[in-house]
Symmetry: C2
């Protein structure tokens, strides 16, 4: 059955599975488990502990190499290029973000480009980690191919998310964390299961034609790299699909282009390192003046939006990141929701690796 788990119990279990089952070091397991549980706690189950299956597959297929230490390939006082050497994505990202924060603390700013990493969980976590240091934080990553450029029909770019975080008054953090695709693949799978037609602008078929039948689309999706997700704005240029594709391509250039790493199309080669690339940026808030004054300025803009007049039938305007921050608070208070399939999968893993007893599952 589905139900709630305590944040700490879930973190401990995920960490034990990664350490005992997957052969991650204690540090690799701890940081990866944190990313997974944070996603579930924030109401983003697509990046939660159910991803343990994906991380397992990455191990089995030789894409990720636990126990591998990232190295610095190039650095200046305001930049660092990290080579992840095919290590654990969250561990590599943590290394790069810490390095960026350390350099930004000394120099004011740091950009970090990362190559040969793996999936690093939710991008927003890393941007927020930087913002907690009273810095403006940004995190980008390419991913396995998911989307089709405007006027194309081949999946050649990833979901290529953009995450930017700014400290706000009252200890809050503004966090925009968005895939540049219109929707994630999980949404399409949901429409398939419910036999519900998708809105136009989500995906195109193998000829690059807009398609709304999720079941038909899903069938073709795994047969070839033709057809795939559209980027924000949908098909063609009329409603700005070329802008969303442009954002995805920008993310690709920052991550893969500047790190000299694999582009989305070349990630996860058969038997080779996943090759995922990231880009992070940190800039101290006091570069622009007194931090308290700047946070108040950011807060005043956000307050004006929160208090702005609502559309018919609506009683709230959300600030990016608010829903997730509130879900997280609720999860810490009353537990992290796990659906039945995920609970079952965790139970299976715990039994398989001799972890337990896990009586709360």
């Amino acid at each position: 059955m589905s139900g709630k788990a305590s944040y700490d119990d879930l973190l401990e279990l995920a960490s034990a599975i990664l350490a005992k089952g997957y052969g991650y070091s204690a540090s690799e397991a701890g940081i990866t488990a944190t990313l997974l549980v944070e996603a579930d706690a924030r109401g983003i189950p697509s990046h939660g502990v159910s991803r343990l299956a994906f991380y397992r597959a990455n191990l089995d297929q030789g894409h990720a190499r636990p126990g591998t230490e990232p190295v610095i390939a190039h650095e200046t006082p305001v930049s660092v290029v990290v080579d992840g050497k095919g290590g654990v994505g969250c561990y590599v990202a943590d290394f790069a973000v810490r390095k960026a924060v350390e350099k930004a603390r000394a120099s004011g700013v740091c950009h970090a480009a990362v190559r040969d990493s793996n999936h690093y969980g939710i991008a927003g976590y890393w941007a927020e980690m930087i913002a907690k240091e009273d810095m403006i934080g940004a995190a980008f990553t390419n991913t396995y191919i998911a989307g089709v450029p405007t006027f194309g029909n081949l999946r050649i770019l990833g979901t290529n998310p953009i995450a930017v975080a700014l400290p706000e008054a009252g200890g809050r953090i503004f966090l925009l964390d968005m895939a540049t695709t219109t929707v994630t693949h999980g949404k399409v799978e949901l429409y398939d299961r419910r036999k519900k037609p998708m809105p136009e602008g989500w995906v195109v078929d193998e000829l690059g034609r807009v398609v709304t039948d999720a079941t038909l689309f899903e069938k073709g999706f795994y047969e070839s790299n033709l057809g795939g997700h559209l980027y924000l704005g949908g098909a063609g240029e009329e409603s700005g699909g070329h802008k969303g594709y442009g954002l995805a391509l920008l993310v690709e250039l920052l991550c893969s282009g500047l790190s000299l790493g694999a582009s989305s199309l070349n990630t996860y080669p058969k038997g080779g390192n996943g090759g995922i690339t990231h880009f992070f940026s940190a800039a101290r808030l006091d570069l622009f003046g007194e931090p308290a004054e700047l946070k108040a300025s950011v807060g005043a803009i956000l307050a004006s939006i929160r208090e702005s007049s609502k559309a018919e039938g609506r009683d709230r305007i959300y600030i990016p990141g608010e829903k997730e921050a509130e879900a997280r608070e609720e999860s810490l208070r009353s537990g992290v929701f796990l659906d039945e399939a995920t609970r079952g999968y965790l139970k299976k893993l715990a039994a398989e690796y001799g972890i337990g007893p896990v009586d709360w599952l």
Copy 2:
């Protein structure tokens, strides 16, 4: 009649109108005229010399103050905050971008936040100006209110464009320059004139409801600040409208929030300075390694997109900025296109300010 003008003739005329007619200094006139003519040359007439009317109105209404020098309000080796003091927008932007490039040349990176400026023309020009220095360039700006947040009905944010430029192999520059609204207001005006229904996702009415009748929408648009443009992704969350709104809000926080300047809602107060705010960023390419190698890496990704498989009925996938770069080349070769209304307006201004004879108009 409509027709083409030589780039240099048009630049000279626009500059003369600004200097002789509007009282701009030679520098203010030169840089502003360049921005306007560059927009026409690139096929972006909404930001071309027809904007002379808007710049005139800004003068008449006391929003812009020619002859005012921007000052540095705060600086570090990697940042600068510029106070435009209500000066000419393009002149203020030019000052801030030059300062950012100068600091980035010395320190590797520079972020510049600008307050109390005015309209600075096409954002892409500034990002590209930075990229020409073998740097990654970014330019953001807020604008007069244009758009409505997801679930809102009040125009409270601008078109808040994002422009990012990266040097590519072969001397080319990747340039993404996009309003975060789905479309610009010029598109809505065009549909109004043609009595053509707009696609859903462009605008909402005064109650925040999706509306497709451009004539009806235009009528209400000037009566109050209710109703307005939607951001990339359209209405609601189903097709990602909250992401586009999130991007617009991010631009607002970077520009207005970090410069301590006016938010879009507070720009152009009756009789006061326009108060537009900008944000620029420059980062030397060699922060990440050998520039030639990085440009080749960026170029290889772009080549893979250009050469990728095309959708049914399409024979080309565009890289952001390519259409505009090609239009510019064509304009330099065979002249800059001006429509009849714009030619007539230029003639009127030339006569009014005693400039001429302008026999090519």
